[in-house]
């Protein structure tokens, strides 16, 4: 137990260091961007109106003060960390004065809902079918599935997404092609809203599942193909153990260990959002929020989303590392 606690402390220290370096890098990169949020705001405000040039100068000074962009870089850096430690990312500069945290909180459930569900479905289906394909290597249906998975895998995502849009949004228009829910349906735990969220998520989820399935399928098929040649599997078959038991308890269980690590990494990655999915399907989420913030030079929002993303990936990796010694006896804590 003492060994495990020492392992825990060491891994937690690594986690804290990764988060610290990651957030600092994000801070440096966002502040190195040539986009000036003040100029972006001025451009938006004045691009269609007749504002006298001297008035623009006045506005520029007022905005710098309002956005808190005055002060030395060191002062701004210290303010940033003092806010982060309090869980406050400050106000969004492109949606001032709304707090960054409020914007993230609004977008995160959409991203998490879509990506967790589609990642889990993809993982379960991909591993299940890949496992079966690896075990029942002569089955023609599963062979065909392997061919389809390999063919789909390298197709660029947006092509599949657009094909689905055209197929189910235009040629056979049975599914909504944009948004997270239907227009004029109040958000809440009511059936019309929940059912419309489900309906609106079918196409984006399907696109993610179709393209994500291949890598899990192929990975699991290879793993199972190796495991079935292990002595203990051959021995079990010779001993007459039921094939379903061999597949479930002997083969799949052992082959799944690296796939679980992959799942954790994928789940951590959902905090990056799914930019192309969100753009193509007009689905609300963190990815679009991040891209829009980059274009607007909204440091606060970019830092908020990247910090959440860094934390998401790091926490998932930490959890997996901490659970591994408990799940897999071959992993020794020393």
């Amino acid at each position: 137990m003492r060994g495990y606690l020492a392992y825990f402390a060491k891994r937690f220290g690594q986690f804290a260091l990764v988060v610290f370096i990651g957030v600092n890098l994000a801070y440096v990169i966002t502040h190195a961007t040539p986009i000036d949020p003040v100029e972006q705001s001025i451009a938006v405000v004045t691009s269609f109106g007749n504002t006298a040039p001297e008035a623009i100068e006045h506005m520029r000074r007022s905005l710098q003060e309002l956005y808190g962009l005055k002060g030395t870089p060191w002062e701004q850096y210290v303010t940033f960390w003092s806010r982060i430690l309090r869980g406050d990312f400050g106000p969004s500069l492109s949606a001032f004065p709304t707090p960054v945290a409020a914007l993230i909180a609004r977008a995160l459930p959409w991203t998490a809902g879509l990506l967790i569900v589609s990642t889990l479905i993809t993982w379960v289906l991909g591993n299940l079918l890949g496992g079966l394909a690896g075990y029942y290597q002569k089955n023609r249906s599963l062979k065909l599935m392997g061919v389809v998975a390999m063919a789909l895998h390298p197709v660029p995502y947006y092509i599949v997404a657009l094909a689905l849009l055209v197929a189910f949004g235009f040629l056979w228009p049975i599914l909504p092609i944009g948004g997270g829910s239907a227009m004029n349906v109040p958000q809440g735990w009511n059936w019309p809203f929940v059912s419309s969220v489900v309906t609106h998520s079918i196409l984006p989820a399907l696109s993610l599942i179709l393209l994500g399935l291949g890598s899990w399928f192929l990975g699991m098929r290879s793993l199972v193909s190796n495991v079935v040649t292990e002595d203990y599997v051959i021995y079990a078959e010779v001993a007459g153990v039921d094939s379903r038991r061999i597949l479930g308890s002997y083969v799949m269980r052992n082959a799944l260990v690296p796939q679980v690590t992959g799942l954790a990494m994928s789940l951590g990655g959902i905090f990056n959002g799914a930019v192309i999915t969100e753009k193509v399907f007009g689905y609300p989420g963190l990815g679009s929020l991040l891209v829009d913030a980059v274009y607007a030079g909204d440091y606060g929002l970019v830092l908020g989303v990247t910090t959440v993303s860094i934390l998401g990936v790091s926490v998932c990796v930490l959890v997996i590392d901490l659970l591994y010694p408990l799940l897999d006896p071959r992993v020794q804590v020393t």
């Binding site: 269609f48 006045h58 909504p176 829910s181 753009k279 007009g282």
Partner: protein
């Protein structure tokens, strides 16, 4: 056993497919992307080009950059003193909206007096009065970080309201165009409700949700995730300024984010989007095959020419572009036909002069200047040439006719209206002579500058954020390169606004000329071109003189404009002198109007504004688009 397992898998997959289909078929209205519980025949669905609104519940338009403007808020819920339509308007381009008449200035333009309409009410039943106008100004001045604060602080000394229908603006300095701030071109200073804002502690941080409306519509509902807004016609629409023109036909308006261009096309073909704000020419060509779709022009070139002038804007503080000969040489290397084809697939309206070829401008500037342009001589140092070719518009039409057939007009006037008149003849020999006079030399295939280094030009473009302009820029760079200039496309993407203000460019494709369109006064952009506002190199340039160009004669013209009234006929004469100066000096190379491909579907609604019936600008994010709603009718 294996067979049994496979049967189970097949059954599972079939069940999943069936569930997906059943789930999607249970609510067909959702599948159509149409608001629930609103009859389609009472609803107009329009594109909000701002896309998804991050801060959807924010309606305080007077705070800077906080929420959406084009979600219907500025089009149908807010109002101000005057509107100038870029086209002909319902009752003339100028419309007295909240004001009962045009502004009245004193002799030295230090005071502007406004008479207001009476009988106009906010949606909560409070009557609009001069107190609202005064509160708008006072709150902006008191809170310097608000959207219109800077312009009001620098102009207004005080506002007096002797009675409920009179407002007197006392100005800090003479300004014969002060009313322009309260005049909608795309937007203006919107009047805020005093009775709401006077109770607010910090107006910068007030969300104004639910907004109290002064326009004919009031907020019905909106998506907290910023995808859609629905507005409902006020029961008392007669008590709004739009009521003068009759009842707005649609009971509901939905402003939506329809997504990328392909989806906009699908949405309109599915009858889920009545008006597309703008789309790439190729999308427009696809939609034009649909009988129900109508664009500004019935046929080619379809798009509505905005009163904005895309041009090659030189940074005249760059050593190369300080020299007028170099600027002219680069202009004479541009083949307008190739640029128009690359940018708009031919669907463009060209302009050789620095005034957009749209609205009332062709009659005031383009056509009267034709004779002068034909006679204009350019001295290359070795000879004098007449660079203007009055037939370029016709050449473009002729070039397109074989592929577009009857869509291309044959009548000379129609061709001029759709494609423009003339442009500069590509003349590499004249460009050579001009460059040589400027001290440039060609070594092998490479032009060298007077300093002996390669003549390098970077042309900044926005990339996929503005594909049409990027394609134009790429074609121009190609033409310069063919001549032996080291020209390159400088891809700015989202940094263009920052770099433009900082002067961090050699040249860029964009615009520094924007006009009213419906009025011939050019001060909207020209006043900011006075030399008093040109920034030092390395300092930030206030809009709109991005070329950082100054000229004593230009200053004189601007000062003359400042000294005369907005409607003074001398304004057009000054404008013509400006045109001549710009042709002589070529600080920007004017290209064409900014054509906006607004696609309007006639399945549910008809009577949209078009070139044949130009009563309003159809582009959905313009404040002026509100006039459409009293002219459109439900389709039978």
């Amino acid at each position: 056993m294996e067979e049994e397992t496979m049967k189970r898998i097949r059954a599972l997959l079939l069940a999943a497919c069936a569930l997906t289909l059943v789930g999607s078929l249970v609510s067909p209205a959702e599948a159509q992307g149409i608001p629930q519980n609103i009859p389609r025949k009472e609803l107009v669905i329009l594109e909000n080009p701002e896309g998804t609104i991050k801060n959807a519940g924010w309606f305080n338009i007077w705070a800077i950059n906080a929420g959406s403007q084009s979600n219907g808020l500025q089009q149908v819920a807010l109002d101000t003193l005057w509107y100038i339509d870029p086209e002909k308007g319902i009752d003339g381009a100028w419309d007295n909206s909240l004001a009962a008449d045009k502004p009245v200035y004193n002799a030295d333009f230090t005071e502007m007096r406004v008479k207001l309409r009476r009988g106009i009410f906010w949606s909560d039943g409070v009557e609009f009065s001069s107190a609202d106008v005064k509160a708008t100004v006072d709150i902006m001045i008191k809170n310097p970080s608000m959207r219109f604060s800077a312009v009001l602080i620098s102009n207004v000394a005080s506002v007096e309201t002797p009675d409920a229908e009179t407002v007197i603006f006392k100005l800090k300095k003479p300004n014969s165009r002060f009313h322009a701030n309260f005049t909608v071109r795309w937007a203006g200073i919107w009047i805020l409700p005093k009775h709401v804002f006077e109770k607010v502690e910090d107006p910068v941080k007030f969300d104004f949700n639910k907004p109290v409306s002064l326009g004919a519509y009031t907020l019905h509902s909106f998506d907290p995730d910023g995808k859609w807004y629905i507005w409902q016609r006020r029961e008392d629409w007669q008590r709004t300024t739009l009521g003068r023109f009759g009842q707005p036909a649609p009971r509901y308006l939905a402003y939506v984010d329809p997504g990328p261009p392909d989806k906009r096309v699908i949405a309109q073909l599915n009858k889920e989007l009545d008006v597309i704000h703008d789309i790439a020419p190729e999308g427009m060509f696809t939609l034009a095959k649909n009988k129900a779709t109508r664009a500004w022009f019935k046929g080619f070139p379809y798009g509505h020419p905005d009163p904005t002038l895309p041009a090659v804007v030189f940074n005249t503080q760059n050593e190369h572009f300080k020299n007028r000969d170099v600027r002219w040489a680069l202009a004479l290397l541009v083949d307008p036909k190739a640029v128009v084809m690359a940018a708009y697939r031919g669907a463009a309206t060209i302009s050789a002069i620095a005034v957009p070829p749209t609205g009332v401008h062709p009659e005031a500037y383009h056509l009267p200047m034709e004779a002068w342009l034909k006679d204009f001589e350019l001295d290359t140092g070795k000879r004098k040439i007449k660079p203007y070719d009055p037939t370029v518009g016709k050449q473009i039409a002729d070039m397109l006719r074989p592929s577009m057939g009857e869509q291309i007009p044959g009548d000379a006037n129609e061709i001029a209206r759709a494609f423009g008149t003339g442009w500069w003849k590509p003349d590499p020999q004249a460009a050579t002579e001009l460059l040589e006079r400027a001290g440039y030399k060609k070594q092998g295939n490479q032009w060298m500058g007077p300093d002996g280094k390669p003549f390098t030009v970077r042309l900044m473009v926005e990339g996929d954020l503005r594909p049409v302009m990027t394609r134009a820029g790429t074609m121009i760079v190609q033409q310069w390169r063919q001549f032996g200039i080291d020209a390159k496309v400088d891809l700015a993407q989202g940094t263009l606004l920052t770099r433009r203000a900082a002067g961090d460019f050699d040249s860029f494709i964009g615009w520094s000329v924007e006009t009213w369109g419906g009025h011939n006064d050019l001060s909207f952009f020209m006043d900011s071109w006075h030399s008093q506002f040109v920034a030092e190199p390395g300092k930030s340039q206030p809009l709109r003189n991005w070329q950082r160009w100054s000229h004593p004669q230009l200053d004189k013209l601007i000062e003359q404009t400042r000294s005369i009234g907005f409607d003074d006929p001398k304004g057009v004469e000054i404008g013509k002198e400006y045109v001549k100066l710009m042709v002589n000096e070529m600080p920007i190379i004017p290209l064409m109007a900014y054509n906006v491909f607004t696609a309007m579907d006639t399945t549910y609604w008809t009577g949209w504004p078009t070139a044949d019936n130009p009563y309003a600008n159809p582009v959905t994010n313009w404040g002026n688009s509100r006039y459409m709603f009293v002219k459109i009718k439900p389709a039978n």
